[in-house]
Symmetry: C2
Subunit: 430 residues, 2 copies
């Protein structure tokens, strides 16, 4: 029999589900207050999702963007971390059913983030790659390299070409950034590794259903990003809807289909609502409806923060953007409210302060928007690096990334082209 | 249909099987000569086995000790690297059957190294961990961390204790080094990560069937190493034979059995002879019998080098030690002989120059022997680090390891405590 084995104390227990940006920001503040904190996550590490694409393209080690949860709270007696998944929630008796047994709570915070949304397309779910976890990023890295290894072995020209093609669906920050990184592999790395292949045959497609890439940013930044991408040889299709994918042929609305052995789906996410959560409070994007205190609709002691939370205000009728700063600010506000609860003070409403947004396209190229300030190019690229470096948890990881970036920049070399665990492709071409 | 797709040229083709120390040392020299080189390996990277134990214990990233084979020979037109495994060898028509099809050779070099030898114990093979590959090292890292996570969930004291115990079988360099590294995790890292567990309950056993650890070194060094290990709290049993392991109980000859959820088997290796190789030339330790030119018994155009090769001389009646320097020196000699073949000169016999041996036990502690010079302690530890750092392939990896070691040394922290892909244990204790 296993069970969570959390000691019973006089303190009220706050159970936090999820060790992402929102979850760890909250926990770091709460351990200073008189609560007992329990954090559960299915992984033993926090992952820095904005740089997953660099793991996928051989630029960074997984260990540079993942950080052990326990290392965040060394020797701390007041927080109990458990590797577990939620299987059910009983809001009457106030407990979770989890993969490690029954877990009581006084307060529950759902900070489970978001997962890839294939919008119900079973083929896409089977054949496309997502990029929301370190394991997925490593799979993508492996399959890209495996495809080139396999292309060497194939005489049939059409089949060889399709092994070299990569389609990225979704022109948000992830899609733009990964397209740029793959284009740099094509330019600087792959021809040296595979001198026997003809890289003029390799095509990188970025397909966006909106009329522009980076549609959350200004028209100016979108235009700039699209120009950067096209100058790097990426075929950018906007206003274009991908209909289906069978592991080989990408079917596109009102356009000829494309053959490609890799399709990366970066065209949507949905809230990762835990199993057993009351479906009545789920709203658009599979997010959990909350009031302005991040309290889940109908509950005083259950909260949701981060990508999974949905708060409508007059300024955010469709909820807040699903980005790290929102989750971290909600965590800050919620920790303050937990403090106020101890002091019997009324709760304070969440207010989002938008610091801006940014995306990088490749060496020396990025677009940045900070309130009325909009800029691109080299300075934007430096700003992008600085902000990402500073957001990484842990001195060691910051240093490791800085070293690796410097190396990659000066050597034009994403060195980590390792297939440690080969990915078993669902479709064979030989 | 896939096939190796190697162009036919006027040059004689040398097929090298295996990209370990011997294989890459040979290939680096041969690409300068008038041969066509084909290298096949089942991985797309070279791995630095002497530091695998640091990957297993969270000290180093896999990417620091693995190096893409293609990166060793960038843009080189005269070497063809293929991911493939040998399935059969036809010495009459001079071709290999491989996982990617039929491959002709003029000369064949077997440099396939060695794998863990469980000496036919099926239980051991099923439940014990080996440590001869990056994937195995990552599995070991995961299971050690998973066991502590699970120990938190178990109330039964005996079962909890067994999850914390680790048995290492084999007191050679690998066994000694991994025991030291685990002991440092126990001392500096795990108690901070798991303040809820009682680490006086964690036992590390090092069991050696010989009468001393590091039996390839002098009695003096053995004694010193054993003292280091015992001072670090490791229970060292020499002259002790492990008989069996069922995933929970380690049965030992003439001693009480030990309960432990992890058993690392570092007590023997055997030559990794490719499938289909003529069994008549296989000798002790599953190695391939060669003459002093590394020619396989009975063949003029088939060679074996490195751990898989077995050459008896009056000085080495049991073959050469299975260490990297032997393989690299054999590769050097063989490349010279390939040059002589082109010039119709007679072959030169291999002669091993023993530079000495070394093993580290932990922070500031190592033993080193270089001909008549024997020393231990801090200077030996610095020498150990220097030699290993200089033997690593690639500037980037050298830099990454130096940085990581400095960090680990000053912070007392093996930071990479990540369970990226959980290991499915064959035995459950709950």
């Amino acid at each position: 029999m296993i069970k969570p084995n959390i000691p019973e104390t006089n303190l009220k227990r706050i159970v936090i589900v999820g060790g992402g940006f929102a979850g760890i920001t909250l926990a770091k503040k709460l351990i200073k207050l008189d609560y007992q904190i329990v954090m559960i996550d299915k992984n033993n590490y926090h992952q820095f999702q904005p740089l997953l694409y660099q793991v996928a393209t051989g630029g960074l080690e997984p260990g540079s963007i993942a950080y052990p949860l326990r290392k965040i709270f060394p020797s701390h007696k007041n927080i109990h971390i458990r590797l577990a998944e939620v299987k059910g929630i009983d809001t009457i008796s106030q407990h979770l059913e989890t993969s490690i047994g029954h877990l009581n709570y006084d307060y529950l915070v759902i900070a489970t983030g978001a997962v890839t949304n294939f919008f119900g397309n079973a083929n896409m779910e089977k054949y496309a790659f997502g990029m929301k976890s370190v394991a997925e990023a490593l799979d993508l890295r492996s399959i890209i390299l495996q495809n080139f290894e396999e292309a060497l072995l194939i005489e049939d020209e059409e089949k060889r070409d399709l092994l070299m093609n990569i389609v990225i669906v979704g022109g948000g920050a992830t899609g733009v950034e990964v397209a740029g990184a793959i284009s740099e592999m094509k330019r600087y790395v792959l021809p040296k590794d595979f001198p026997e292949l003809d890289f003029t045959k390799m095509n990188i497609y970025l397909i966006e259903s909106n009329e522009r890439v980076l549609s959350a940013m200004s028209v100016e930044s979108s235009t700039k990003a699209k120009k950067y991408l096209e100058n790097m040889g990426i075929q950018v299709f906007t206003d274009t809807r991908v209909l289906d994918y069978d592991g080989e042929t990408v079917t596109i609305k009102d356009r000829p289909s494309i053959k490609a052995a890799v399709l990366l789906w970066a065209a949507g996410i949905k809230g990762a609502v835990p199993t057993g959560f009351n479906t009545e409070v789920i709203t658009r994007g599979n997010r959990i409806k909350c009031n302005q205190y991040n309290q889940v609709d109908g509950f005083e002691n259950i909260f949701a923060i981060g990508d999974v939370a949905f708060i409508t205000t007059s300024e955010t009728p469709n909820g807040h953007p699903q980005v790290a700063p929102v989750g971290m600010q909600q965590a800050d506000n919620l920790s303050n409210n937990f403090d106020r609860l101890l002091k019997n003070k009324p709760l304070v409403a969440f207010k989002y302060f938008d610091k801006g947004s940014m995306a990088t396209v490749g060496r020396n190229k990025a677009v940045v928007e900070m309130s009325i300030l909009k800029f691109g190019g080299f300075i934007a690229w430096l700003a992008w690096m600085f902000v990402h470096l500073m957001s990484i948890v842990g001195f060691r990881n910051r240093l490791a990334i800085l070293m690796t970036w410097s190396y990659n920049y000066f050597r034009y070399d994403q060195a980590l082209r390792l297939i440690i665990r080969p990915f078993e492709r669902k479709k064979k071409f030989n």
